[in-house]
Structure formats: C-alpha cells, structure tokens
Amino acid sequence: MAFDDTKTEDFKVVGQRVKRPDGVDKVTGKAKFGADAVAPGMLFAAIVRSPHAHARIVKIDTSKAEALSGVKGIVTRADFATGLTGGDLDVLENVMAGEKALYDGHAVAAVAATSQLIARDAAKLVEVEYEVLPHVTDVDKAMAADAPVIREGAADQSVPEGMHANVVRYHESGHGDIEAGFAEADLVVEDSFKTEATHQGYIEPHACLAQLGGDNKGELWCCTQGHWNVQKLCAAMLGLETSQLRVTASEIGGGFGGKTAVFIEPVALALSRKTSRPVKLVMSRSEVFRATGPTASTSMDIKIGMKKDGTITAGQGTFRLQGGAFPGAPMEFTAMCAFAPYNLQNVKQVGYDVMANRPKQAAYRAPGSPMAAFAVESVIDELCKKLGLDPIEVRLKNASKQGTKASFGPTWDRIGLVETLEAAQSHPHYSAPLKEGQGRGISCGFWFNHGGETSVTLALSEDGTAQLSVGTPDIGGSRASMAQMAAEELGIPYENIRTTIADTATLGYNEVSHGSRVTYASGLATIKAARAAVKILCARAAAKWGIDEDAVVWENGCAKPSGPNAGEFDPLPIDKLTRSMGRTGGPIVGHFEATPEGAGVSFATHIVDAEVDKETGQTKVVRYTVVQDAGKAINPAYVEGQFQGGAAQGIGWALNEEYIYGEDGRLQNSVFLDYRIPVASDLPMIDTVIVEVPNPGHPYGVRGVGETSICPPLAAIANAVSNAAGVRLKELPMSPPRILAALEDQANNG
C-alpha cells in the first residue's frame, strides 16, 4: 500500500507518552475480564481430562455424574459437529478428544452444574475406560524409528519418503553453494542445541461465558486475542451459521499468542446448547499449563563458516520442532528467521514439524524465531571468540540491509538492523567494565510482522468528540495508540477520543491481535477512517461556505479555506460542524476496511550482562539493554513496555522455564510454584533504546514491536552466561543443574 500522504514529522499527539485509557480500571479492579462475566441462571462447567499421555478411549460412562444433584448436562465429542477436515478437525480434536487421548490433560468430556463445586465433583464421577498406549514427548525420540505413531496419516506431501509418521511437515530453503561457502572459511563451527517448551505465562487463565439456544443463535463472552476467529472456529465446531454467534472480547490479562486459539469456548457453547442455560467455564492454572498451547520444543544443528576478518561464508541450520500431537510447530519460521539478520551468499535451512504426546503448541511472540536466534547467535559468538573478533563488528560486517538478499529469498526493502547495531555499539552498556564472574552477551533478532484483515469505524459525536471502534483486542495499550493516531488526524485532544473494542456484530472481520499487527494495521485503518471523516467535515464546511470541497483544508481541528483564492471565511472548528451534522447531511462517520500488506519487518539487538555462581549454578542477569527498530513509536512508553516485556519473558525462557514430563508422560510442573517465571526481584531494570527507521508501508512509518523483542534474549543471555561460566551452554533453560552439569563436563573432558 503506497501513501502519497505520509506524515513523518510535526506530530502533535503521536510520540507523546499519554496515559492508557483503560489503565485506571485495570489497576482498581473495575475492568471486566473473562471470568467476570455473569448471566441470570448461569451454570458452571468443569472438564474431564485424560490422565494418560496416549490412550484409546474405550468407553465413557456418564451415568453416575448425571445422577448427581445439580448436574444439568454432560457433553462428549458426540455433541460436536461431524465431517470436519484439515485445520478445523485438528482444532476440534484438541478441544475434545475423539477416539484417542493424545496428551496428559486432553479433554474427554465436560459437565455443567449449578455450582462450580458440583461441576468438579461430577467431573470426577465421569468414568472413562482407557487402553493406555506407548507415548513419546521428546522431539528427537519422536522422530526415531521405534517411536510410537501418534496419528497415522497426519503428514503432508512435503515430508520426504522414509521419515517417521510423526514427522508431519518439512521445509527447506536457502541459496548459493553451501559446501563451497564452507570451503572458503578459515574456521567452521558446528554444534547442536535444544530448547524446552515454555508457556506464555499470561496471568489470566482462559475464561468464557456462553449462551446458545436450540435455535443455534448464541452469544459468547471470552478473553481472546481475536474474537472473529473464535466466532469462525466455534461456528465450525458446533455446526452454526457464523453470523448467528455474536462474540464479545473481554479485557485480556495477557495473551502473547496463547489466546489466538480456542480451547474451552466450543465446550461452553455445547454445554449451553444442551442445557438451555448460560454456561461459564474458567480454566485453573494447572489446566492452562496442561491443555492450552505452550511453544514448541526444539532440537537444532547449526554450522557456520567464517573468514578471519569476520565475513560469514556459509550458514546451515537443521531445526526439529515438536508442536504437540498435531501438525503446526512453526519450524518454517524458525528456519526463515535463523539467518535473516545476515547477508549470506551461501545459506541453507531445513525444518521438521514433529508430533509428540504433548498439548497442541500455540503461538508465543514471534513463534519459532527466538529458538533459531539462540542456536545461530551462539555459534556466531563462538566464532567471534575463537577468531578474536568483536561481536558487534562482526554482525555489522555481515548485516542485512536494504538491497541485500534475505536468507529466505527476497531483497530487503528499508530495514533498520544496522541502526540497532550501531546504537548498541555506542551505548554505554557495551563498553562498561564487567566484574569478576560476569559475562557479556549480545544477539540480534528478527521477526516478519504482519498486516491482516482489518476493519475500523470512527463516529463523530455532536460535541466534536469521537468514538473509535476497532476489532483488535487491546493486549498492549493499543487503545491509547489508536486514540493518538485519530487525535493526530482530527486535530483534537487525545482525551476526546474513546476507543472501544467492538464485538463481532459491529464491524467487518478483524484478524486476531497477533503478528505485531495492531498498531500497524488497526492504526493504519484508524488513520484512514479519520481521514474519511475529515473529508466529510471539509465537504460540510464547503457547502456552508458555498465553495468547492477541494478548496477546504483541515488544520488543527478546524476546516479552513485552502488559500486566498478559496475565499475569506473564519475557520470552522469540529464541534461547530458536528453540532449541526443532523441537519447538514446526517451523522459523520469514517470507516476503513482492508488487508494492509505493508507491515515492515523488525530487527533488534540486545546486550546482556550475567553473573554465574559456579558453586550453585545460579545465574543473575545484572544488566540488560534492548535496542529495537520501531519504525515510528506512536507511544514511546508502550513501545518500551513491549521491549521490556519481551526481554523479561526471554529471561524466564533462557534461565528457568520449561515443561517437565515424567517417564509416564505426565506434566510434572503445572503450577507457578514449580514452573518458575521471573518476578520483579529476579530482573534488573531493562534499559531501552528506540530506533526509528520508518516503514514505507504505514502512513506514519510504524513497524510492529510486540514480537521482535523476544527474538534475541535467549541467545544474548546464553552468550552472557557462557562467557561468565567459561563453558558453552547449549540447552535451555540454563537452570542451575544444567550449568553445573556443563561445568562438570568441561572439568572432566576439557
């Protein structure tokens, strides 16, 4: 999308650190989240879950549960649509097991009752007869010849012949002559890496309230990153006409990609249809861990060749991703992001999507990219150490820039990697002295960003204020940034805009709040909707003055003649025009519907200092700096918040967080006591530097920022920890036992 009316300077509201309009409600408890929804006559639901990692469901006997006083209805797979195929079938299979339970925690039935307690008791009375089957949870073991087959026939045509049936998709890309590239190198380093699955760790468990009648007309309130997607999927699962289900998104207590899928919503709707009562369903934390969508676990091999001057001559990566018992692990993104920061003449990346007896993975901020950066940037760090080269100089020497060819093919448009590296190099952090026992690491990271279907309406009120309706749930302060962009275009105060997240009956289709797309795509649509409203305002002023519409301009919230030839008229402020709008042509509303395709990619460079206690293996991150290209920061405070949030989650992923499965295939750590996410006292102040290299695909130059910030941390922290410990850490998380094991291995084997 080209813009002949791009604005890059003289902003009045954009770039200001205004307060988010939803902030007070959220910190005072007034905001309504998913579990806050209530309805008269509401029932409460509980889900029966498989205790086995892999088992055939022989029989489900609900008679004892149904006999319990207060139980109003029970659903199993028989209560959902039949005949689904492809992705819809996979979603349904995950929402409610069919013939087999595919992982520990897989839903097999659900109960609705008059109280939560009765529903939970009744769930325990549902008798499920299982035939336990062999299971596998590790990605490498799932690919081995003797691994149990999880689902026959799940592989697509991309998988080469001879692979195990658990390998369901294959990707290969690159260019040049990889062997010739390695032959040119003065040093080649080759190593293998593993990362465990982690959870997004959003503070609000999934929750919804569903009402569906026998006429198949329904209402659903839920916490989600995308309620049009929920509408579409639930309609398919329940055999409804899409438009007959209205979905309203509640406030959301974090998503990070994990709330782009459905888990409980179709179940609550099925129970509501069966009982003719509204049904509320709220997950426990343990259910969130066991049965929503963590990120994929990985096993990766990396080989990179470098000349003595730091020129990378070739890069090769093999990425095996386990994404649960369904196809979809984002191995193609891992492969495509791995070498994206570098201008390589010879590069090859291969990816495998592997099924295992674990929950279906979901997106988690830049899905697949952080793991790739961990592996590739660790090897680059090793090469720099062995060749005595400065890690930022080497990255600058090889950096992707406008006109160079991406590792996945296309020629880059305007990008800001070099600018982030230069900003990192000149930051005081990079030259600050380290203390004894500390190490420093740096890493680059890349994410594509996304546009997607978007629909926005801006309606002016009679007093000259504006109501902005967007369809992308606010997961990071987007109501503020939307209002800032609308205020900028209308020339009115930020406070005069109210932004609402509209329901599915109010706007056209809106894609999920994912892919770092909201500030880019809904922002672009907001600007366009505001410009459409301004065009009407100018037309009304022209009619009043009796001049041509083209002879009117909009400045500082007023219609004005465009010049002396247009005539001499006093400026008409917005409220004077809106006050009479009912008598001058009717309501003034601007709207915009499109699929913007100009989402600019984003790069970041992170610097980390870490301290390792070699006796206990404990690691502390003592200093952290994020440098990232935001294109244009609409609200710098919330951009910095995204930078810091990505770094904080990356610290958890790198040091402590992991899904731990026992020999029985059951998840061992399904509560926050055992699944260790970082808390404030674990973290240093995370410094931020916003680089602004405008995206030519947005009228203000915006690039998405929500995901790129989690791409470099795993690698930057691993490089810092490895430098502090004096041994290369190749497996995440770098928990104390792993660090001690690496130190012991080094002591024993050198």
Binding site: D156, Q157, S158, Y170, H171, E172, S173, G174, Q200, F256, G257, G258, T260, P330, E332, F333, M336, K348, A362, A363, Y364, R365, A366, P367, F408, G409, P410, T411, W412, D413, W447, F448, N449, H450, G451, G452, E453, H514, G515, S516, R517, T595, E597, G598, A599, V601, G697, E707
Partner: protein
C-alpha cells in the same frame, strides 16, 4: 512472463526447478498459474502461502499487482503471536 522463486523444498513438486516462469499480472494469477503448470504445488498453495513481491511480503492479498520484472518469491504463510 514473471519469474517466481520457490523455496527449495518445493522443487519436488515443480519438476526439480526452484525458479519457474508464469504469465500473471497479480498475486492471484501467479498462484493460479503455478497450480496449472505444476499441479503438485496445489496442496502447498491450498494450505496457504505468502508471496514476496519486490521485497514486500504479501500475506494474503490476491489483487496485489506483479510486473514482468518484479522479484517474486513464494513463501510460507506468515502468522504471528
């Protein structure tokens, strides 16, 4: 005619080629022509792809124009978190 670059994993479905020529004026025509000339690519395109045209990644728009000298790359469909 427009040159379309395929990711190398697709060579198996395009007679061993990773760059093919199609007659097309927009992204939708590129995808239709690819399926017509190389039916083995149908499952890939049906599953969803993105197309990079002159460095800009088109995630879904079929009407985005393509010129004879455009640099066109077929890419895996982009999503995000």
């Amino acid at each position: 005619m427009v040159e379309v670059n395929l990711w190398s994993g697709l060579r198996a479905f395009a007679d061993g080629k990773d760059c093919v020529e199609v007659d097309a004026k927009n992204v939708g025509e590129v995808l239709s022509a690819l399926v017509e000339q190389y039916p083995g690519l149908e499952h890939v395109i049906e599953a969803g792809v993105s197309v990079a045209v002159d460095g800009k990644v088109i995630a879904s728009g079929l009407t985005e124009p393509v010129k004879p000298d455009s640099e066109v790359y077929l890419m895996q469909q982009l999503k995000g978190g």
